[in-house]
């Protein structure tokens, strides 16, 4: 027993020696001695090695701030050059307890009409982590899962602006709602990812939906399907449907699809990738006059990563205007994006916009996104 005690002490000393002599390259003898001593000890009497000083753990949430600066040259109007700080987004997120996580996003944005900055709460959610039967519930203020891009925040989208269909139907930042979201992983014999989500609540007022004046609620449903085609290629197909009150105190109903193909060789995924994403939607807006206006929008984008830091892309957009029949916009964009690091994205985009209700114009937009702090990773 004494012998074991001596060995324990010796082993502890040898571990201390190893830990303290990190810069000392003469560790070989100590290491061999350690191995010898360990092999002579019973399994459960092995002492734990001395642990190097670790960073102090903290219960502080992850906090990040992301800036968005823009420089624009536009061919129409008298004021052709614009330089402005577009938005600051502050995110605070953390697990609440073993059962839930919380996420808050505050935005300080510049109003494109009056040029004044205003603060707003964009996201405030509580999400369950441990409900049975592969279910999950989120409540609070969030972006409804309609299509693919609406779920993103502008800084997370490859191009400098959201597609026209998002801008025209939901607004520059996409659509927000307050309510409850429930989802389930749908079991299936092929074991692929299939998630069904249903969300209901009140919409923020936008071109398509309104907060409502009666008990008519916004209801959104989304079916997400994800397939690993190969180790390097994936296909994501989503179907969406949404209905709710509009500003005419009537109902707007939408249906949409999204399709994303990604190719990213897993061995060199930091150097090369290709994305093709297409999204479309149809909208029916019931008006106060008792008529229904049918419009639709679609976009398709491709992005190719040509180096560790550089991406090129192109996008075609077509979008109607909700509740305005026979008015539409078309846009072709070309993108060059450079990322000096994970925390800084510089993008230059040329856009050619054609409208059938107003003159066409071109613009060149430079966008700089820069982030500090710990920002939660975006979904794939």
């Amino acid at each position: 027993m004494k012998c074991v005690g001596v060995l324990l002490v010796l082993t502890s000393f040898s571990y201390v020696g190893v830990a303290q002599s990190l810069a000392d390259s003469a560790a070989i003898a100590d290491s061999l001695l350690t191995i010898e001593l360990q092999s002579q000890l019973p399994l459960h009497s092995q002492p734990q090695p001395t642990i190097a000083v670790r960073s102090v753990p903290t219960t502080n949430p992850d906090i990040s701030a992301i800036g968005d600066f823009r420089l624009t040259y536009v061919t129409e109007g008298n004021r052709n050059v614009e330089l402005h700080f577009n938005a600051l987004e502050v995110q605070v997120s953390s697990v609440v307890d073993p059962y839930a996580s919380a996420n808050f996003i505050f935005s300080f944005g510049k109003d494109s009409l009056n040029g004044e900055y205003s603060a707003g709460l964009e996201i405030a959610t509580l999400t369950s982590l441990s409900l049975p039967y592969s279910t999950q519930i989120t409540l609070g203020k969030f972006k409804p899962h309609f299509g693919k891009v609406n779920m993103l925040h502008p800084h997370a989208f490859s191009f400098v602006d959201f597609p026209l269909l998002i801008n025209n139907y939901f607004g520059e930042e996409g659509m927000f709602m307050e309510g409850v979201s429930a989802s389930i992983l749908v079991p299936n014999p092929w074991d692929f990812f299939q998630e069904f989500k249903i969300q209901f609540g009140r919409s923020e007022t936008n071109a398509s939906f309104d907060n409502g004046v009666n008990n008519m609620l916004l209801v959104n449903a989304h079916l997400d399907n994800f397939f690993d085609l190969t180790d390097n290629a994936t296909l994501n197909i989503g179907l969406s449907a949404m209905t709710g009150p509009n500003t005419f105190n009537q109902r707007t109903t939408m249906a949409g699809f999204d399709l994303t193909y990604k190719w990213k060789p897993i061995q060199f995924n930091a150097y090369q990738s290709f994305t093709w994403q297409t999204e479309g939607m149809v909208s029916q807006t019931d008006t106060a006059a008792g008529t229904s206006v049918h419009t639709y929008g679609v976009y398709s984008l491709m992005e190719y990563q040509i180096g560790k830091r550089t991406f090129v892309g192109a996008r075609f957009d077509y979008s109607g205007l909700p509740a305005v029949e026979q008015s539409d916009e078309r846009m072709v964009s070309f993108l060059l994006r450079f990322q000096p690091s994970e925390f800084q994205i510089l993008a230059l985009e040329f856009q050619n916009i054609n409208r059938n209700y107003a003159p066409s114009f071109q613009q060149v937009v430079f966008r700089a996104i820069f982030g500090i702090g710990t920002h939660a990773a975006h979904p794939y």
Binding site: A52, P98, F268, A270
Partner: protein
């Protein structure tokens, strides 16, 4: 009689599959060690492959399906996987494997860490605030990882305690024998100076007595720049350094350029199990790497 045996076989298969602990690991090294300890009582899936950069794994939704059914989740920890594990766990809908759950295993527990920073700034590149997370590249740390995994398996499946402990002892014995052999092979080259692409070898360096003088990346996570490569070329010429260590997921262009200008040799080491088809187990990683270094030095 034939029906009886078929029924018996099905019962055995069914009971075995029910007794199996479903484990998801972030890296294939953790998978290999878990299989070494858990044997027939574990079914293990690794999210990352051995030739993939563990910092930049895409959090594909298909992994959520695996995690939703897992009894145990083993992570390297120390924020190595911070870019992809949190969104997967948040969507897994599985309380067992959430941080603090009985099936959540942080393999860095009890590891003596290297390069724990005293202050942190992103101006220094991708710094890991808890210390360098590539600790599995010291085989002696593999023993600590194995002990941690063994404890977790016993917690989830206590009736097989003896089985797991026996296999842990065997794993430790194998590592001990192998470490002596590897260190003996590299003994004559102790202190040899080398260049590495990324700062992921300090544990390997310490164990096997290499001396990494500088990195092709000017700062962790920042791609090599012409000025950094020029500096490396000068350093290699001045100090007569002949070996440049690359990793499977970094393109060899920068390392090759430096090698051409210095007469050095680029050696791509395995960072994980599965980096190359012949590397099937945790010990294979070190067998391969030791051989590669010996070949490069002797050339």
């Amino acid at each position: 009689m034939k029906k009886f045996f078929v029924l018996l076989y099905l019962l055995v298969v069914l009971s075995l599959s029910q007794a199996q602990v479903k484990v998801v690991t972030t890296l294939p090294d953790l998978k290999s060690i878990t299989e070494s300890i858990g044997g027939e009582f574990v079914e293990v899936f690794s999210i990352a492959t051995g030739y993939q950069n563990p910092h930049f794994v895409d959090p594909k939704p298909s992994y959520i399906v695996k995690l939703s059914k897992a009894d145990m989740f083993i992570t390297v920890g120390l924020d190595l996987e911070i870019g992809w594990v949190p969104p997967l766990l948040n969507s897994a809908r599985n309380a067992k494997i959430q941080k603090g759950g009985e099936g959540y295993v942080d393999a860095s527990t009890n590891i003596p860490l290297l390069q724990v920073p005293t202050s942190v700034s992103r101006a220094e590149g991708d710094i890991h605030i808890y210390g360098n997370p590539h600790y599995w590249l010291d085989p002696l740390n593999g023993k600590i990882i194995a002990q941690t995994i063994c404890t977790a398996l016993i917690r989830l499946n206590p009736e097989h305690r003896t089985y797991f402990e026996t296999r842990l002892r065997r794993f430790i014995d194998t590592i001990d024998t192998k470490v002596k052999q590897w260190m003996e092979q590299l003994k004559s080259y102790r202190g040899i100076k080398v260049i590495a692409y990324h700062n992921e070898w300090p544990y390997f360096e310490q164990r096997f007595g290499l001396k990494i003088v500088d990195f092709l990346e000017p700062k962790p996570g920042i791609p090599p720049t012409p000025s950094q490569l020029a500096k490396i070329i000068n350093t290699m010429k001045r100090e007569n350094i002949k070996v440049i260590i690359n990793s499977p997921y970094f393109t060899a262009e920068s390392a090759d350029l430096v090698a051409r200008n210095t007469g050095g040799k680029v050696v791509t080491l395995a960072t994980s199990v599965g980096a190359y088809p012949t590397i099937k187990t945790y010990t294979d990683v070190f067998d391969y790497n030791v051989q590669q270094i010996l070949s490069a030095i002797k050339e």
